[in-house]
Amino acid sequence: MSADLNAFITREEIEPTDEGPLSGQTVAVKDNISTEGVETTCGSAMLRGYVPPYDATVVERLKTAGATVVGKTNMDEFGMGTTTETSAFGPTRNPAAPGRVPGGSSGGSAAAVAAGEADLALGSDTGGSVRCPAAFCGVVGIKPTYGLVSRYGLVAYANSLEQIGPIGSTVAETAELLDVIAGPDERDATTREAGAETTYADAADGDVDGLTIGVPTELVEGADAGVVEQFEAALDELRAGGAETVEVSLPSVETAVQAYYVIAMSEASSNLARFDGVRYGRSGGHNDNWNESFAAAREEGFGEEVKRRVLLGTYALSAGYHDKYYKKAQDARAWVRQDFAEAFETADVLASPTMPVPPFELGESLDDPLQLYLADANTVPVNLANLPAISVPAGETAEGPVGLQLVGEAFDERIIVRAASAVE
């Protein structure tokens, strides 16, 4: 079955080092999270054969919690994509929607859980890369508050936006994995003390009585009719449980996709400068001078989407354009944060479809990068605002599963876990 799905790049068991809450559980780990002694490629030809000399903090925590890691999952190259089709190791197929993509960039992780090839999985979410594949594969995914989970050992794409997040079949199981990986780490200075003592799995009690759920009109208007129908049905369920829904407005999301891509591409152009083929990765040879050698290594090692983002990021940061793109994107980011803060004055949780569209057909979306970027409209505002969000299955259209996204205030993961557990 796995050969069909291509959910894993490397299948190799990593044994637990202790007994704990995840004893007996299998976990699939996205291939941009470092595993000592086990190849970690980021879905890129650049890192084919790269074997990290140390574990990411989250992997250490999995092992001491009793989990058995079953392999490294397929992903869009360096996390850059929404379909898992930009992987140098071939696309992953969606077990919940035949002929369609599993979403991305953590498509292998979500597909592995959906197909029962792992009990749980870790992904990373820079602009929706945990929530999108969770929605498309009909499983649960959480993007934690920025600073709740250590990024030590995560190969960096866009540091100011990304978080490692759990994927599972149920809200409670997914929240239990969050319990294991959350909490400060002295090796990641952006982790915070907030949330260190919080538990998550026990919040999945389905009790939404008295909860106020805000629905940002801008995130529903553009969605496919079939998706909206399932979304409305999920809201009905929440109201039946005693929750109240109110309309809220987030005018800033109109420029959120633009801001997200400018910031992510700019950070990527800087982060991926390390891949010069000298300390690790594909070598550009020694016959030319260093600039030519590095440029050759990067031509051969990087796929088209990675080149596109590195170049656009370089452009956005270059002399004469920095103020026009990068600085404006930071203003747009501050605006998004302010908008969310205002929305949370009237609502406890915000709800929208996770993805405005059902899963794409395999190969359908590769030719037009801009159209694909627009599919991230509902997920990227959350990363820009550093907030936690969960995607929970909410029915299906003829094309495949639909996800309900619930967004909370910073370090208020418990409330989104609770609300999500009421609709599953």
Binding site: Y54, N289, W290, L312, Q338
Partner: protein, 88 residues
Amino acid sequence: MVDYEEVEHVASLARVDLDEEEVERFAAQFDDILSYFEALDEVPAVEPERELDNVFRPDEVREGLTQEEALANAPETEEGKFKGPKVS
């Protein structure tokens, strides 16, 4: 707005060789994508929040990778060092 030469220039800044077809394709796509980014000009002025503080720790020597571990993934090494291309 974005022409062939401009893509080549950015590619050289980013140290990424491109073939001719890639440069042509990127020129057309960058035009679309950068036009889309133009909407950022309409973003109103917002007071940026200062949320993050610098975090310091004492600068103490601790165990790191061994030389062997650090060199293990290098395509080429020589006498315990990384081997790279000529610098000029």
